[in-house]
Amino acid sequence: MLQELLAGGPVVTDGAWGTELFARGLEVGRCPDAWNLSHPDRVEQVARAYVEAGSQVILTNTFGASRPMLERHGLADRVAEINRAGVEISRRAAAGRAKVFASMGPSGLLLISGATSPEALAEAFVEQARALAEGGADAIVVETMSDLAEARLAVAAARATGLPVVACMTFDSGKDHDRTMMGTTPEQAAGALAEAGADAIGSNCGQGIEGFVGIARRLRAAGDRPVWIKANAGLPEVVDGKAVWTQTPERFASLVPAVVEAGADFVGGCCGTSPRFIQAVREKLSR
């Protein structure tokens, strides 16, 4: 399925969801994923905005819908429902015009600190991946991972559903911003994630799109899997006491060809991006 998608050249994915939900009334501190049940119409608006902006792949509002994350909001008993609903919402919005890749984010717990165990994490990811598959996802995206051990457990869980799996990590540490918080390099990530069964490997979040040219090149050189990149809109600046992403959609889009040339097969946005960014990226790549 991934190869089929990529046959037409680089594929444009979507942009940030959290900020779009906040713009539609989600309150700070509330669980974004719970909106799949309480405000499905508004979640669908976000998904549809991306489809209309030209996303060929959209994700789902399930980034934080693993059991350990939902537990923090007292929603541990709603894991299956929230994940299934998340996929169904994106599928309705896509209506066949875009593929739906379901999002699985980190657990928020560190294995090495003893806050959780590999068994507990594996169980949580299996539970989430199964519900995403039941909802009808076309693929699963494991994203924003810092810890390779946790990422591998998530990939294995996603893999067990039989769906294609994209696995991405966040490189935001080290003086060159080319390590994850736990010290993993793109080369180590590419090798270990492919071995764990990922069909595509990649990176999202952690830095502005400027930094992703090098990351994409290194991921590409380190393996034979398609490369998935979702970059932030530059770096946030503080304006009137608030963090604001000041990079324009045009500036972001102008950097996309370099990321594609470096080896990215899937491109999209993370923090600070919106449907306008996706539209600009589509325009840039169709030229």
Partner: protein
């Protein structure tokens, strides 16, 4: 004879078991606890910090070193207290209201404990007033605030305002951190210090104690 240099190595390499054994043996042989702390343990954590700064160490190495340090420190604490030694300072730490992320906050707390600070961890989603109350419990405390989200970092300003309203802003040193935080933001809200990593946070806390 216990070789205290082994204690240095055990902390540097994050070997908690060895740190415990060497510390016990050294204490049984009559070693001076504050010497162990100042000549071997704190220098080991300082070396951990500099290895982190030059990308030799990352979060896993920091965490296991801090754990080894804590193990040894717990053996020393009763004797240090009996000798009238004090903690490097007291730090009240927490993730601001509306934010449930705690990996970074926990990491900073572990490193501060490893640095000899007494740490009061208020957890996540902490209302401003709760920070104020914890600071009021003991004079001269440092306040360490964490936020992961651009949407919650603005709560830091609310906490500072709550300290002002309670009349304790002037005597409280405030340090902040978290993914979206920058020195610019620190200056803008009038916090006293910022670090972009857990190791740097210990240096910052020491600096703030010295300045208090």
């Amino acid at each position: 004879m216990a070789d205290p240099q082994e204690l240095y190595e055990a902390i540097l390499t994050g070997n908690a078991k060895q740190a415990e054994e060497v510390t016990k043996a050294a204490l049984e042989e009559g070693a001076n606890p504050s010497d162990l702390l100042s000549k071997y343990m704190i220098p080991a954590m300082d070396e951990v910090g500099s290895r982190f700064e030059c990308n030799e160490y990352f979060v896993p190495e920091l965490l296991i070193a801090a754990r080894a340090m804590k193990t040894a420190l717990e053996l020393l604490t009763p004797r240090l207290a009996a000798a009238g030694a004090k903690a490097a300072g007291r730090v009240v730490i927490g993730t601001v209201q509306g934010d449930l992320h705690d990996i970074g906050k926990n990491l900073v707390a572990s490193m501060l404990e490893g640095g000899g600070f007494k740490v009061v961890d208020l957890g996540v989603d902490v209302p401003a007033q709760k920070f104020v109350e914890a600071i009021q419990e003991e004079d001269g405390s440092i306040l360490a605030l964490s936020a992961l989200l651009t949407t919650t970092m603005t709560q830091m300003k609310a906490v500072i305002e709550a300290l002002e309203a309670a009349g304790i802003r002037e005597k409280t040193k405030i340090m902040i951190g978290g993914a979206p935080i920058t020195q610019q933001y620190c200056d803008e809200i009038g916090a006293d210090g910022y670090s972009d990593n857990a190791s740097g946070a210990v240096g910052m806390a020491r600096k703030l104690v010295g300045a208090a």
